[in-house]
């Protein structure tokens, strides 16, 4: 009993992995105690995913050993990993969308009677109960394809828990979650922690790492930088460890909102159930942020503007001209471009070369007679944007899917910027992107705004908005709830977070982010 207390649940020693031409991991060491929440941070390509792949048995390490709960492995199969109690919750949720919630929860182990026949009533009951325990309200009869992204994420995490995992790897779990869900998740993670379940928590949201983790391990270029107790390091230090040198928080040179004539104007936009009397103006060269909880109406507003969704009533003008687009092509034609939240689904055509992805929006302008693309002109333009946005790619012909997250996002940016829009709507522009790339993206945003483009950013990262925007609008329950002008004394993260929560302060939600922001 005694030694099992002290014995770590997971111990990885001297793990090395060489891919032809790249040392993905060298002599990595990682040790997780039972009931520990262990942060794992590092830039994209630092080796986090490779390390996890080794732990999941997806990749066989060249050297090194793993001890899971006293059992020693040099290499293992995914089955062994599962059996040893390791579960992985990926960033991009991977569920059986055409099947019911219950079946997704019980996949592979549907309850059967003694003749081996599936007992549906029990299945649904069981699934419902399990979800109930997590305080998760989901219709177990519903097909997963009918759930929202947030719901799907929660379901995926719950699934991992149901598979009796002792060690759960959470990879960017909060990427698509609104604050209350994050709190629920964290609360739940903590409750499990008390029961001795260990977590490896991978995230780019450092404040969350500070909020939830006990220890944090930093990787850089496939090597271990160090493992720190969370209370012995601060944000700056962590970033320093990740990046290798000091990077101060990004601060864009703010323009004064009054200069420049209005470009995008919304008057009394109403779409029942989504948003009501939204009035806002974005001026030339101005960057306006919209903050709010999931379902506060911001994303609905953005989608509607771009024609991905019905618009409802209300008047929209761009540079004084009425804006009437009902679908993306019209939207682009009338000067409004939109960077979608899910770049995998709406942003990129992963299988196609970077070159094509960048010029999709401007083909018409590139086309000569009979729609023949003028290739050299195309290459020119693409080269420009690759250079301008600093996209790291071996060639224009590289398949977009093979780029790192940050570079993929830059490609999407290039695609939009190429249309020379008057208005650019960005939805979570830095989601799942490493710190370095984020800074690049912010740089890009400010350059674009200097080009005179009116920019509207919808983001859940308050610090990001504070860094980039001139004004920050907070939406709550479909209405514009409050406006903050950056630079005003009362424009503090705390106040904004409070506003996001709808001003009525419930301690837990208000306090936890503060901690991280103060750090």
């Amino acid at each position: 009993m005694e030694e099992s207390e002290v014995r770590p649940l997971l111990e990885m020693r001297g793990i090395s992995k060489v891919f032809p031409g790249v040392q993905a991991l060298s002599d990595m060491t990682l040790s997780v105690m039972p009931g520990e929440i262990h942060g794992l941070v590092g830039k994209n390509g630092a080796g986090k995913s490779t390390l996890m792949a080794v732990l999941m048995g997806l990749i066989q390490p060249d050297s090194g050993t793993m001890v899971i709960d006293g059992r020693q492995f040099t290499a293992m199969t995914p089955a062994q990993a599962l059996e040893a109690g390791v579960a992985y919750v990926p960033q991009r949720i991977n569920l059986m969308t055409s099947l019911t919630v219950a079946e997704n929860i019980l996949a592979g182990q549907m309850p059967t009677d003694r003749f081996g026949f599936v007992r549906w009533d029990e299945a649904f009951k069981d699934a419902a109960e399990r979800l109930e325990k997590l305080g998760l309200k989901l219709d177990v009869y519903q097909r997963v394809e009918g759930l929202s992204v947030a719901e799907q994420t929660l379901l995926a995490i719950s699934k991992a828990l149901f598979s009796n995992a002792r060690l759960i790897i959470l990879d960017e779990p909060t990427a698509a979650l609104p604050r209350p869900d994050i709190n629920r998740l964290f609360g739940f993670v903590r409750s499990l922690k008390d029961r001795g379940v260990a977590f490896i928590y991978i995230s780019h949201h450092l404040e969350e790492v500070f909020e939830i983790c006990d220890n944090v391990t930093v990787l850089r270029n496939g090597r271990l930088v160090g493992t720190y107790p969370i209370n012995e390091i601060d944000t700056a230090g962590l970033i320093r460890a990740m990046v290798g040198e000091d990077v101060e928080e990004y601060q864009r040179k703010k323009t004064d909102g009054r200069v420049g004539e209005p470009v995008l104007e919304l008057k009394n936009m109403v779409r029942r159930g989504h948003y009501e009397d939204v009035n806002l103006t974005v001026r030339k060269g101005e960057v306006v942020g919209i903050a709010g909880l999931e379902g506060c109406g911001a994303s609905a507003l953005a989608k509607s503007l771009f024609g991905l969704d019905r618009r409802g009533l209300g008047e929209v003008t761009i540079k004084g001209k009425p804006y009437t687009a009902t679908n993306p092509s019209e939207a682009l034609a009338q000067g409004l471009a939109y960077l979608p939240q899910d770049r995998y689904l709406y942003g990129l055509v992963g299988g196609r070369p970077v070159r094509e992805n960048i010029t999709y929006t401007v083909l018409d302008r590139l086309c000569a007679l009979f729609g023949f693309v003028r290739l050299n002109k195309e290459r020119e333009i693409v080269a420009q944007y690759i250079e301008k946005l600093g996209i790291v790619t071996p060639s224009q012909e590289q398949a977009a899917a093979l780029l790192s997250g940050g570079n993929q996002q830059k490609v999407v940016f290039a695609k939009l910027a190429a249309t020379k829009p008057d208005v650019l709507v960005l939805h979570e522009p830095t989601q799942g992107i490493d710190v370095h790339a984020k800074t690049d993206i912010y740089q890009i945003v400010s350059e674009l705004s200097e080009d005179g483009i009116a920019i509207l950013i919808i983001s859940s990262e308050v610090r990001e908005l504070l860094g980039v925007c001139d004004r920050i609008l907070v939406m709550y329950q479909g209405k514009i709830h409050q406006e903050f002008r950056v630079g005003d004394p009362n424009t503090t993260p705390q106040n904004i977070l409070l506003a996001i929560e709808g001003a009525n302060t419930c301690s837990e939600t208000a306090v936890s982010p503060n901690l991280s922001l103060i750090g």
Binding site: L95, S98, L99, G108, V118, W120, G146, L308
Partner: protein, 374 residues
């Protein structure tokens, strides 16, 4: 499975894989819509019984089942593979080759057989085994060798048909023992009718219904069945849930092979002979029946009851058109037109579902983009 393939066709938002809860009006409506295939079946029955007075006789109705028996078995096998997002185009040839092998085993050398003159039971067992083996082979090639299931089974289709021709060679073999023909050609009972004459119940008709029932129970009430859906819906996720997708896929191909062998048995028994062409050109019709019945070409959707409806519909069209004495020159056209019509009504259903987005699934999936983009 590419996202658009789903939005392509209505029927893939077909009957549910889970027991329907009839709690409110919407659900009842949904239930009807989800089982639209049966509405088609009824409509077809009505139309044809109006057009031809010999149509709506008990014997004729039973005979529809009897005639569709072989097709039905193939549809079962195909549905199993399709639910796991695979095709088995070799089924039609498997049907042919197994029937021929059984015949060769039973026939005397004089009748062109191998002169073994095996007992029917033995022959049947062997043909089923052969079917299973073929399935095993298909499955192994596809899972272990990473070969494309569509094209692999097409190649197998050629190989097996060739084998049938070569084994026979080219000749039909006929006149099997009664026991062999019992399943395919035998009659189970004769029920005297008030209108005079007997209602003849062929074994094949009953067997077909039983087979579909069993298949349905397997796909809905056995773990294996649910694993099939899991694999078809999202192979990676299924793997993550500890389901060995390769095992499942191999298994469904074996099942498909056995079903094809049974189809061969039914056909040979009914015709009392095995021809080198047995089963030829059936596969597209088989897939059509399955798809009309709501089984998705891309896996994870549809159920066996629906597929049964598809078989029935096809049988009714076939019988009806022939009994209406449509000129053979026109019959293909009519069949195609009716098929198109069924698909069209089905499409209406989907657009209705989307308008009154009863199901979030439909509201969510991006069909909308396409409409507005036009």
């Amino acid at each position: 499975m590419p996202p658009h393939s789903e939005t392509q066709s209505g029927i893939e938002i077909g009957p549910d894989e889970y027991p329907m809860r009839i709690s409110n009006k919407n659900d009842i409506l949904l239930f009807i819509i989800d089982n639209l295939i049966w509405v088609f079946v009824v409509i077809a029955l009505v139309i044809f019984s109006l057009l031809s007075d010999q149509f709506l006789t008990p014997n004729n109705l039973v005979n529809i089942l009897y005639r569709m028996a072989a097709l039905g078995l193939l549809v079962i096998g195909q549905s199993f593979t399709m639910i796991t997002a695979n095709f088995d185009l070799s089924a039609e040839s498997t049907m042919g080759v197994t029937a021929m092998i059984a015949a060769l085993l039973m026939a005397s050398a004089a009748d062109g057989g191998w002169g073994l003159e095996l007992s029917p039971v033995l022959a049947i067992l062997i043909m089923l085994a052969v079917g299973a083996l073929i399935g095993l082979f298909n499955g192994t090639l596809i899972t272990r060798m990473n070969m494309n299931n569509f094209i692999t089974t097409v190649a197998m289709m050629m190989v097996l048909r060739g084998a049938t021709y070569a084994l026979s060679p080219g000749r039909s073999i006929s006149f099997f023992p009664k026991e062999f023909n019992w399943l395919g050609g035998g009659t189970l009972a004769r029920i005297p009718l008030a209108s005079g004459g007997n209602l003849v119940i062929p074994t094949a008709a009953v067997f077909l219904i039983l087979a579909f029932l069993v298949a349905f129970v397997i796909t809905r009430y056995r773990r294996f069945g649910r694993n099939m859906y899991a694999v078809g819906a999202n192979r990676a996720a299924a793997e993550a849930a500890g389901i060995s997708s390769k095992k499942v896929i191999v298994a469904v191909y074996v099942i498909s092979g056995v079903c094809a062998a049974l189809a061969g048995l039914l056909d040979a028994g009914r015709m009392d002979s095995a021809t080198p062409r047995t089963g030829m050109n059936m596969i597209f019709i088989v897939q059509a029946a399955a798809v009309i019945g709501g089984v998705s070409l891309f896996g994870g959707r549809g159920n066996l009851i629906g597929a049964f409806g598809g078989v029935l519909l096809w049988g009714i069209l076939d019988t009806g058109l022939n009994m209406m004495m449509v000129s053979p020159f026109w019959i293909e056209v009519s069949r195609g037109a009716l098929l198109l019509f069924a698909m069209f009504v089905d499409a209406l259903k989907v657009s209705y579902l989307r308008r009154t987005s009863i199901r979030k699934a439909l509201a969510n999936n991006p069909i909308g983009l396409q409409d507005q983009a036009i």
